[in-house]
């Protein structure tokens, strides 16, 4: 069946909502830790934007506005689950334990990856739109063949949903009943293209056409994101096959630091979404229902500030790699053509004599 409703457990004002199928299982302590994650990742993201504006990063893709969509989904994962992000999933990387500085390496162009995907069970950013959906389904089919009780999760946006890669991955996931959860963060804008132009039906309805369930969740509601994702992951691990979760959210900032959103969208729309802020509604719930007081919130803000300064230091300390290292990971094993290129480059003398 196609659900017609937005699944929401927490209103923008921080009031709980009754839902017939989903109920929040989280304690106050856990909700507070979700809040902490969202505040920290927002602050780190702002620092990264500043670093780009100061010439320290080549590019940055801000996540502001999508904190709940990512933290809610990321915190629903089990340690052995595996995740395939696009280039905006800093919140997921944070929940997987990736050190913040490692998230920025690729944006400073000092690496092609940034971290060891196996260590964090989190793949490196995929910039080719929608590509990671195929990686995820392939990996999930591998999990199936290993008989492992793991789920795979992948992330893409409303724009990438128009890509052949994503739609092909839906076909494969459905045909093989692969243990994969597709998290579609509909942030309303594919750079300057409104999502309603690319999707004439709500995006989550597409899953139905491929033969698996799809849900639309209030992507700015961390409680709903957590519960819906958790159930979808459990279902995948139990052999129930794929699920599409459309996190209905909003990109508050630019698509990337190379983009100027004021050229294509109106302030009134941004103002409207400010009232649906994911962090503020969680804070309101914590303050009212769990009597969390200001010092606790201040402590989180201070911690975020400290991490931001640390991130800055770490980024400024990153050295450009020796150009010769570009040949190191072209293939897993030695390859004659790559070796020839390496030799020629050393002969040109453009890099240090490292072999």
């Amino acid at each position: 069946m196609i659900g017609e409703e937005l699944i929401q457990l927490l209103t923008p004002e921080g009031q709980r909502v009754h839902h017939p199928e989903y109920e929040s299982s989280l304690s106050g302590e856990e909700i507070f830790s979700f809040y902490r994650d969202m505040v920290i990742i927002r602050r780190l993201c702002n620092e990264a934007t500043s670093l780009q504006r100061q010439g320290q990063l080549a590019l940055w893709a801000p996540l502001q506005g999508q904190e709940a969509a990512q933290i809610g989904a990321g915190r629903a994962l089990e340690p052995n689950d595996f995740t395939f992000p696009s280039y905006r999933e800093h919140g997921i990387a944070w929940t997987r334990g990736v050190p913040p500085a490692d998230m920025l390496r690729i944006f400073r162009a000092t690496t092609n990856g940034g971290w060891d995907p196996q260590r964090y069970r989190h793949s490196v950013p995929t910039v080719v739109l929608g590509n990671q959906a195929l990686h995820a389904v392939g990996y999930a089919m591998g999990v199936q063949r290993d008989g492992a009780e793991e789920a795979v999760m992948t992330f893409f946006g409303d724009g990438a949903s128009s890509q052949g890669d994503v739609l092909e991955s839906f076909v494969w996931a459905a045909s093989f009943n692969a243990p994969v959860v597709f998290i579609l963060q509909n942030n309303q804008w594919a750079i300057s293209e409104p999502s309603t132009l690319q999707a004439k039906i709500p995006l989550y309805h597409r899953a139905h056409g491929f033969g698996f369930p799809g849900f639309r969740v209030d992507g700015n509601d961390v409680l709903a994101m957590y519960e819906v994702t958790r159930r979808a992951l459990e279902n995948a691990r139990a052999g129930g096959g794929p699920t599409l979760i459309e996190a209905y959210t909003y990109r508050m900032g630019a698509h990337t630091t190379s983009d100027d959103p004021t050229r294509y969208r109106i302030d009134a729309e941004v103002e409207m979404w400010k009232h649906r802020d994911p962090v503020e509604r969680t804070k309101a719930l914590l303050a009212r229902e769990f009597k969390v007081k200001r010092p606790a919130f201040d402590e989180v803000a201070a911690e975020a500030e400290t991490l931001a300064l640390q991130l800055r230091d770490d980024v400024l300390a990153m050295d450009a790699p020796d150009p010769i290292t570009m040949f190191d990971h072209a293939y897993a094993e030695s390859h004659p053509l790559v070796e020839e290129g390496r030799r020629e480059m050393m002969e040109l003398g453009v890099s240090g004599a490292r072999s």
């Binding site: 830790s33 620092e47 010439g55 334990g97 969208r265 109106i266 911690e303 400290t306 640390q310 230091d313």
Partner: protein
């Protein structure tokens, strides 16, 4: 202290230069890390650059409107040398380890968390030395702020440029902050006081400045053509001598609009909105464009083509302290009554506060100029370049009107619309103005249906 340069970065993947749009700091100002320094416009976007240093601004290497190359110095700072900074930890650091331990209760964290945690803890200690370089500056900054009257960096810079001491200026902005207009008033005011005994005449605004009174001013005063005046003069000359203008007029009984606005203002949900006849005219004109898209067109001489646009970027002529500017509301055809009222208010507020972003000044497709507040019945406006039509709205006043062969008192407004007669003919212009007129005459059905 040592000098540090902030070189203009490439903020967009392969840009070579940028133009200074607005400085947000002035020489001598104490800035903190990541404080907004300047708005720059590149080929791609207008972006705000945050400060990479905490320190004192010693040199701004370019003026507003200048273009500078990527990699060239933008600002020079005096910064506190880290080696000299005291090695006390910042208060923010103390609470961090406790907060980290809370991650133990987290659900779904990766297995790698335990061995990455010590790394983070180790790093966190390094933070102390950096953050103190910031906090060492802070007390100094507080002193500066406490002594200076409240204003914003651009206004301080503006006052300094014009030799106005802010301590002598009374602020009329929000919470008593000094605005640019206050600085202008102080400048004009001092001139007036000098001659006040000789004359009773006041000052008159002209192209964004106060003119000295008739008796006391210079016999001939020359004003340089720059800034808003320059934009206005160039735009109007270009338009007047390239687009053949023609005009249509319509007098409308807008009594129902007046009644509707009065009843809407009573509703608590709409109480924050400044609803005015202009709101209704804006909705009406957008609705007319939807029905007659030809009016939302422009003549592209270079390509020898007429461009019809199915999106209205609605320009609103605004009378600002600096002069006349025409910012626009993007995609105004998508707005409902509440959205339109909010958008117009925000646009006008920004124009008056001089915070209109450059993006709001480009891409106008249709324009409204509201001349009613000046107490006139109508006008023949000149088209903003690149647009096909501009509507002037006159004063809304009671007037005798014939209803069922009897003369009654009604609220009457005069609309006029100039159009580019190269592509728009009188028949189309008449349909459009008639549609707007009908909307004003009976707004309720359209508002409810739309």
């Amino acid at each position: 202290m040592s000098a540090r340069d902030f070189l203009l970065p490439d903020v967009g993947e392969g840009l070579v230069e940028a133009e200074i749009v607005e400085w947000k700091v002035a020489v001598g100002e104490v800035v903190v890390l990541n404080q907004a320094l300047v708005d720059i416009e590149t080929a791609k976007a207008v972006v705000e650059l945050p400060s990479p240093f905490a320190g004192v601004v010693t040199t701004l290497h370019a003026g507003v409107g200048d273009t500078i190359e990527v990699g060239k110095p933008l600002i020079t700072f005096e910064v506190v040398d880290e080696a000299n900074a005291p090695v006390e930890s910042a208060p923010a650091v103390a609470s961090a380890p406790g907060a980290l331990e809370r991650t133990a209760v987290l659900v779904g964290y990766g297995v790698a968390n335990e061995d990455s945690a010590p790394t983070r803890r180790h790093r966190r200690q390094n933070v102390a030395s950096t953050s103190t370089s910031t906090s060492a500056i802070a007390p100094e900054e507080e002193t500066v702020v406490a002594l200076a009257p409240r204003s914003t960096p651009p206004v301080r810079w503006y006052a300094k440029q014009h030799g106005v001491d802010l301590a002598t200026v009374r602020g009329t902005g929000r919470e008593g902050t000094i605005t640019r207009a206050d600085v202008d008033a102080a400048r004009g005011g001092s001139k007036v006081t000098a001659v006040a005994s000789a004359t009773s005449g006041g000052t008159s605004r002209f192209i964004g400045r106060d003119l000295a009174p008739w008796e006391s001013g210079q016999a001939e005063e020359r004003i340089p053509v720059k800034g808003v005046l320059k934009s206005m003069s160039e735009a109007m000359t270009q338009s007047a001598f390239s687009a053949p203008h023609a005009v249509v007029w319509l007098r409308v009984d807008a009594t129902r609009t007046v009644d509707l606005l009065a009843s809407l203002r009573q509703r608590p949900a709409l109480s924050g909105l400044r609803l005015s006849p202009l709101t209704i005219v804006a909705l009406a004109l957008c609705d007319a464009a939807r029905r007659f898209p030809g009016i939302n067109s422009s003549f592209d001489t270079a390509a020898n083509e007429v461009i019809v646009r199915r999106r209205v970027n609605l320009g609103i002529a605004a009378n600002t302290p600096r002069g006349l500017i025409v910012p626009n509301i993007k995609a105004a055809d998508q707005l409902d009554l509440v959205g339109m009222a909010g958008a117009i208010n925000a646009l006008v507020d920004r124009a008056r506060e001089n915070t209109t972003p450059p993006a709001e000044m480009v891409g106008t497709t249709l324009t409204i100029t509201n001349v009613g507040p000046f107490g006139v019945d109508g006008a023949m406006p000149i088209l903003p370049p690149g647009t096909g039509a501009i509507m002037a709205v006159g004063q809304l006043a009671k007037a005798p009107w014939v209803v069922d062969d009897a003369v009654v008192v009604r609220h009457v407004v005069e609309l006029s619309m100039s159009f580019d007669h190269r592509q728009i003919d009188g028949a189309l212009a008449s349909q459009v103005i008639a549609h707007v007129g009908e909307f004003l005459r009976d707004p309720a059905p359209v508002l409810i249906a739309g």
